[in-house]
């Protein structure tokens, strides 16, 4: 009996020593980082001290993806790397679960979200956002052989969009229509059934599998997914209806001073033509949003939406 108790105690000791081990690691970490934290509530000081900025992203063309030679490329990839060079820091890309991006940011696992993220009213509340750098619009994706039927009327059909995406917000009216909108998605799909998908890729799979008739997804992402060499070669992207323009931005922790440093570097990259070159390289020139400084001197034609939407369509084709 005594032996058994002794053994139980021993095992309890093992558990507590394991736990102790964990907590001593933790406190070691906190004492090391606690100092810098107390000294600096500044993200920029943290990042420059580490010499590294961690960017949370998901892989999708043309923003962040691997090319045929397995090189990590993309518009956002190269722009971020150019910013890193300007700031003299390394850029560390981390693939995240898109649903958890806010929590990734707030838990400091990443320093910013830079992955073709649309600016929304909600995100303006919860994050500090950079100036917009690319336009995006909502595209309808459907089977090619049903395009005529679906474009004539979507009444009674099933439409899908990624949960939490701009497409879903537009369909459900949680993202208010702004002055770039010509066709209100909510009214257009008023008599359709809505079903949420896990991701934009899954939304297209719904259409492919016939469980949904049409998907409403980011046009930039759609062009990265649908094409002649893919399993979606029997599907088409239709942007005839202008459901409004969205702007891609970079998201930082609320109140982070990192945004200013990154934005300054991007301003420099606009000025020396790097941004334009990258947009050209990834065939995104028509969607590029001009830098504030430049835009101020020129007529704000993009703001009317018409031209940019047409440009978006043109770029797509």
């Amino acid at each position: 009996m005594k032996k058994f108790i002794a053994m139980a105690l021993f095992s309890a000791m093992c558990v507590t020593s394991l736990a102790g081990c964990g907590s001593s690691n933790g406190s070691g970490g906190s004492s090391a980082e606690g100092g810098t934290q107390a000294a600096a509530e500044s993200d920029w000081e943290d990042v420059s001290a580490k010499g590294e900025m961690t960017i949370g992203m998901t892989l999708f063309a043309p923003m962040n993806y691997y090319d045929e030679n397995n090189n990590f490329v993309g518009f956002d990839t190269e722009l971020a790397q150019a910013v890193g060079e300007k700031l003299g820091i390394d850029i560390n890309f981390v693939e995240i679960n898109w649903d958890s991006k806010e929590i990734e940011l707030n838990s400091k696992n990443i320093d910013c979200i830079w992955n073709g993220m649309c600016s929304t009213a909600e995100r303006q509340e919860t994050m500090t956002l950079s100036a917009p750098y690319l336009y995006n619009t909502q595209a309808m994706v459907m089977k090619a052989d049903r395009e005529d039927e679906i474009m004539s009327s979507v009444d009674g059909l099933t439409v899908t969009a990624e949960k939490g995406s701009t497409g879903e917000g537009k369909l459900q009216g949680t993202i208010a229509d702004d002055d770039t909108v010509e066709v209100s998605a909510m009214e257009y799909f008023a008599n359709s059934n809505y079903v949420a998908s896990d991701s934009m890729a899954k939304a297209l799979m719904e259409v492919k599998a016939g469980t949904a008739d049409v998907a409403l997804v980011d046009s930039v992402a759609a062009y990265g997914m649908v094409g002649p060499d893919t399993d979606y070669s029997d599907m088409v992207i239709n942007v005839d209806n202008n459901f409004g323009l969205q702007e891609y931005v970079i998201g930082f922790r609320k109140g982070s001073d990192l945004e200013q440093h990154v934005s300054d570097a991007i301003d420099e990259l606009y000025a020396d033509g790097t941004v334009a070159q990258l947009a050209e390289k990834y065939n995104l020139s028509d969607l590029l949003i001009e830098n504030d400084a430049q835009a101020a001197t020129e007529a704000p034609e993009a703001a009317t939406g018409d031209t940019a939407a047409e440009a978006a369509t043109a770029a797509a084709e």
Binding site: M1, K3, F4, I5, M7, A8, L9, S11, A12, C14, V15, L18, G26, G29, S30, E33, Q37, T58, L59, F60, A61, Y65, Y66, D67, E68, N69, N70, V94, E95, I96, N97, D99, S100, I103, E104, N106, S107, K108, N109, S199, M200, A201, K202, L204, M205, K208, A221, G224, M225, V226, G227, D229, T230, D231, Y232
Partner: protein
């Protein structure tokens, strides 16, 4: 997170699943036994703390536990978890150790009092009785439920993708984003082959244990 070639990418993703599987087993098997001793302890507070721990771990989704391990350090203390893989290992080990401990307890409690009495008559100490008489019989009895749990673990490793571990399903989903669907469904083959090997292994272990007649 490699790969323009789907097969290469899936294979390197599955290696991560296997790594997580192996590390989890290696740590959860002994930790489970420790938890069993605590939950069977005659020292009541320890016993009840352990019961509550098992209740919490078995009573909450593994997905939530993964989130807690990865994000809680950063959210509560401002010290982000340094490695996602470590976070996944911690969550899996704690979760599986809790399940294993209950299987062990069931096995230990199924051994008849007669076995202990026989050991006592032969003048063995309590720990001698446990390790030399009881334990091997327990091992034989728990092989089938443990096989179940270990096979479940194989497939549960795919859940690590929710905290950004680039395992096989996540690798496959990268291809669905590029318009290729088949990689997602081919991941089944990897799991089937591996679980097939495991099943053969468990069958062999059960056969080996046949010489016990209890």
């Amino acid at each position: 997170m490699l790969g323009a070639n789907p097969i290469e990418s899936l294979t390197s993703g599955f290696l991560l699943n296997l790594e997580l599987f192996a590390v989890t087993l290696l740590l959860a098997l002994p930790l489970g036994l420790i938890i069993t001793f605590c939950s069977m302890s005659r020292f009541k507070p320890l016993k009840w703390i352990t019961k509550v721990f098992i209740w919490v771990i078995r009573g909450t989704p593994l997905m939530l536990q993964l989130f807690v391990v990865l994000y809680a350090p950063g959210l509560l203390f401002g010290i982000p978890m340094s490695s996602r893989f470590t976070a996944a290992v911690i969550a899996f080990v704690i979760n599986y150790a809790a399940y294993f401990s209950e299987i062990y307890r069931g096995g230990i409690e199924s051994i008849s009092v007669g076995q202990y009495e026989a050991g006592k008559v032969l003048g063995m100490t309590r720990s001698q009785i446990f390790f030399k008489v009881v334990l091997l019989q327990v091992v034989k009895r728990i092989v089938p439920p443990m096989s179940n749990e270990i096979i479940t673990l194989t497939k549960d490793t795919a859940l690590a993708r929710v905290i950004g571990i680039g395992e096989i399903i996540m690798s496959a989903e990268r291809f669905t984003k590029m318009g290729l669907i088949w990689p997602l469904f081919s991941t089944a083959l990897y799991f089937l082959v591996f679980v097939g090997v495991l099943s053969l292994l468990f069958g062999w272990v059960e056969k080996k244990m046949d010489y016990f007649r209890v």
